[in-house]
């Protein structure tokens, strides 16, 4: 039944007379038919958050129900696309409507006219259950989309055919339990899923393998695993977005979902313009061929920003269910929380801390809880992972604020970005003393087996030296550097090498931007070799000044720019250390 608007307050519209409409149903608001979602029902009054600017909407205008919750379209065509927070295709809108986003426009999220080559992997007569793969479509040179039996449908395949088909053409029929009891269910390549509901796995599994990012401080000191969660809090300019983009570029995931949530338009333009040029280190193919972008920038409507996170994670789950390693970056979850706060304020809900709604913590938790390593739905035993990395933008860089604190309660990795490091242009500005990763044991075990048995020892030694440096710095502040013993001054010198020649990493240098695990190990190994030999030399009575001035140190500093293909260089430097000491 059509409703009537009774109140408009910014992105919040209240309407009456929407009888059959359910909570979280989509509606169309006003003469402009703006997209909205019912977020509260109180008696006659339906509160609607509107995903577009509401200027020109007023009491007396109609509201049209849709009878459906906010859902995303899932199917071939997602890869390489860019959507707004409610999955409108921004590239299509730009092509048709020009540079500015016009209100009330409606295009299908996925192209309806494009034909895809559907290649069955199941055959007629097979018994299939939800999650079983029926066939595949090559969506991009990097990604094969697996078309799965939708939830709620199972039975016998009575028809399946290899063909060139559009999203809405029938590619298979299943006889059994399904939408209708009387006729076989027709399956197309297009499915829908309500974004606020997690897609179910068959089983959750403990995550184990590292998500290799090629960022030295992350992989070596504070690793994240495939299926894990991490957060990157830091004040403005501390490097959150660069870290997220580095992960989107280099993380060894099959699929990347990048959600630009309430941040800059130019950052999305940057991704859009650079990803088609950048090459995936494994396959040599453009990175865009494994990427889906969700962009609801800061100047776009705030309610759609609230939805963007859910849109992104639902698309991510869909690929996870195919058995892929998916990584989702959300930049920034604080803007998402603020969108919630704004809507909550308009609803006149009782505010919690700093005006955020009391359910802030539980919302954040439901989002991060959709990550994980899983056994996929269906009978075929695929495994998939979904890793989630969220940026947090604490006001004034103050980590005691509600969003940071609520996030820290759920995520397992904390990359704490430091204003002081950023202002010295020490990037990534991850503070090595306060950051942590609860996945360290898992990654130590993995790297110990696959990379080098000494991995864990080196990592621990590195942590120890950095910790010791911090203590010594305190001391220096009181008594000056000359008062330290030569051993302690050596530690400070080595810590400086670790910081400058290992932890510091330039995202804009062609070689330095990505370091494989093996090279990470070698770099540390060289520095720590230098340390042990220097310690011995000190004991033999060699002067510290001479050790510090050794020419080999300049060569150690350059190693980070040497690609792993020239492994012999690393050995040569190790030999020189022994020679010169």
């Amino acid at each position: 039944m059509e409703g009537i608007i009774t109140r408009v307050a910014g992105p919040l519209v209240v309407a009456r007379g929407l009888k059959e409409t359910k909570i979280f149903d989509m509606v169309k608001v006003g003469h402009l038919k703006l997209m909205g979602e019912v977020i509260e029902i109180r008696g006659e009054n339906y509160s609607i958050q509107v995903y577009e600017e509401t200027e020109g909407i007023g009491p007396g205008q109609p509201v049209y129900p849709s009878g459906e919750p906010l859902s995303v379209e899932l199917g071939p065509g997602l890869i390489g696309a860019i959507f707004d927070g409610v999955q409108r295709p921004l590239d299509v809108i730009e092509a048709r409507m020009g540079a500015y986003i016009v209100r009330g426009v409606e295009y299908p999220s996925l192209p309806r006219d494009k034909k895809w080559h559907f290649q069955p992997t199941a055959k007629k007569g097979d018994r299939v259950v939800p999650g079983d793969v029926l066939g595949v479509v090559r969506e991009s040179p990097l990604v094969v989309q697996r078309i799965m039996v939708p939830l709620g449908i199972e039975g016998e395949l009575t028809y399946i055919e290899e063909k060139e088909a559009t999203l809405e053409e029938v590619i298979a029929r299943i006889n059994g339990r399904g939408v209708s009891q009387y006729a076989p269910t027709e399956i197309t390549m297009l499915q829908r899923w309500p974004v606020r509901q997690a897609r179910p796995p068959r089983q959750k599994l403990p995550p184990e393998d590292p998500l290799v990012t090629g960022q030295r401080i992350l992989d070596t000191l504070f690793p994240v695993v495939k299926g894990g969660t991490a957060c990157v809090p830091g004040p403005f300019g501390s490097g959150k977005t660069v870290i997220q983009q580095q992960l989107a570029k280099w993380a060894d995931a099959d699929i990347i979902i990048y959600v630009g949530c309430g941040e800059r338009g130019n950052e999305m333009a940057d991704v859009l313009l650079s990803f088609p040029e950048l090459k995936d280190p494994k396959s040599g193919r453009p990175l865009m061929e494994r990427t889906v972008l969700v962009a609801n920038t800061s100047n776009m409507p705030v309610a759609a920003r609230e939805a963007s996170i859910f849109t992104g994670i639902t698309i991510a789950e869909y690929y996870r269910d195919m058995g892929y390693h998916v990584a989702l970056m959300a930049d920034s979850t604080s803007r998402w929380a603020e969108a919630m706060r704004e809507i909550s304020g308009r609803l006149e809900e009782m505010p919690g801390e700093e005006g955020f709604p009391p359910y802030l913590g539980s919302r954040l938790a439901t989002f991060y809880e959709r990550s994980g390593s899983i056994l996929c739905l269906g009978s075929q035993g695929r495994k998939g992972t979904l890793s989630v990395i969220g940026s947090v933008s604490p006001p004034g860089g103050d980590l005691s604020e509600p969003v940071t604190q609520a996030t820290l309660r759920v995520v397992k990795v904390f990359w704490s970005l430091d204003d002081r490091l950023a202002s010295q242009r020490h990037f990534p500005a991850v503070n090595w003393l306060t950051s942590y990763s609860l996945y360290q044991p898992a990654v130590d075990a993995y790297a110990g087996k696959r990379i080098a048995p000494g991995w864990k020892e080196n990592r621990k030694e590195t942590h120890r030296i950095l910790q010791r440096e911090a203590e010594l710095e305190e001391l220096v502040r009181l008594v000056g550097v000359e008062a330290l013993s030569p051993e302690d001054r050596l530690i400070m010198e080595v810590a400086r090498m670790i910081r400058e020649d290992f932890l510091h990493q330039n995202a804009f240098h062609e070689v330095d931007t990505y370091t494989p695990l093996e090279k990470q190990y070698l770099l540390l190994e060289v520095i720590l070799k230098f340390y042990t030999q220097a310690q011995e030399a000190l004991k033999r009575g060699v002067e510290l000044a001479r050790i510090i001035d050794l020419p080999v140190r300049e060569e150690i500093a350059k190693l980070r720019y040497i690609p792993l293909t020239q492994k012999e260089v690393f050995q040569r430097v190790i030999d020189k250390i022994s020679e010169q000491l």
Partner: protein
Amino acid sequence: MGLLRGFAPRNDISGRVFRLPLKEYLTVKDVFGVKDIFGPLMLVEAVEGVTYGELTEVRLPTGDIRRGRVLEISDSTVLVQVFEGTLGIGTDNVRVRFLGKGQEIPVSRDMLGRVFDGEGRVADGGPPIIPEKRLNINGSPINPCARDYPNEFIQTGISTIDGLNTLVRGQKLPIFSGAGLPHARLAAQIARQARLIAAGEEKVGGGATALSGFAVVFAAMGITFEEADYFISEFRKTGAMERAVLFINLAEDPPIERLAVPRMALTAAEYLAFELDMHVLVILTDMTNYSEALREVSAARREVPGRRGYPGYLYTDLATIYERAGRLKGKKGSITQIPILTMPEDDKTHPVPDLTGYITEGQLILSRTLHNRGISPPVDILPSLSRLKDKGIGKGKTREDHADISNQLYAAYARGNSAKELAVILGEGALSPTDRLYVEFSERFDREFVQQGETENRSVEETLNIGWRLLGLLPRKELKRIRPEYLEKYYKPGTRG
């Protein structure tokens, strides 16, 4: 979207645009029925057909007309925000007229060279503008797909900007200042000296290459008469006035008007940039005054306050202003924004600078310490940043070594400054010999790199060469941020003294 199904046949693949029926939109409605007045707001009895965001006229018994905007609306009442303030308004005999449209501004090429007040009315005594178009001042969000990435180097002639916090065309780069600091002089110097240096052209100082036509749109919000006058006479003196458009709301003008000023300015800028193909430099000053006006309205509405009383939506609100900078694919023009704001108590974690920094593409921060030491312009490079620098510099744009030397100068200056702090506590003697070199570096950096005259217009080459000269103070093995080949080519040790 899932909901498509409810509205369209499933095979509908064409895009459809819904437009509001014109007759609904363009009707004027009148009401006598002011109920409450509080702060800059009025609660008015509802009339049929009024919509959110609509422009209103409040007609007083005296004949006075004030303008306002619908902030919230229900079927019984309308909340109106009055731009010129509610002083002198009663509930009797006041007629509120709803104009059936949002706030608009007339635009035309003839705006160049003209001054407008905070309401967008001609304020220089000249003839009215004959509009080419009337545009809604709120604009529409730019589709991120339509953006072209800003990557063309703008030479400002100022070393701390060109060398370390490079400005590019289409960037939004604010100046964070403090009360009494010379932000106006810096902004004027940028507006005066800014020019684009196309690759291949000779990069010599003093503006050997032609200014590639920056028009200036200047929006003043609650600044003093003197400051506004400084800008205007600057523009007159340098001949910039004839390609400038000014919107002026002074400290004594109605505060609520300030909410519209930057939006009018940007609407004019968009017209000049994207319809008339101009490169536009927009100066917005002072965004702290703007934010205070927003806070006033929020407080009057009794909204749950965020930090320091500012509303929770300050971020989003500021973003709808700052994000209107940029370049668009297929368009020749561009909008470069230099917002200026004063940090209360020089505190960059105050909500206005903080949220600004989260939206803009970097920030130039002025330092009181440097100012007091007589360094000018007192740009504190350490917390300053240009996020778009990396795309605007390097071979073919400025010089191959630019990125490396900039990183190295930062690292060295930071180390020099912390060594200096240590020396203050423990004396020079407590420093290692290398740290003593760093101290000298950082002192000379302030005097030779940061310090420059108000009319001194350095080419980027000069700037980089000063950088190399200073790095010569440090031993070569300290310069780890610079690629060996550039060290080979540019490093000359030991120019001490």
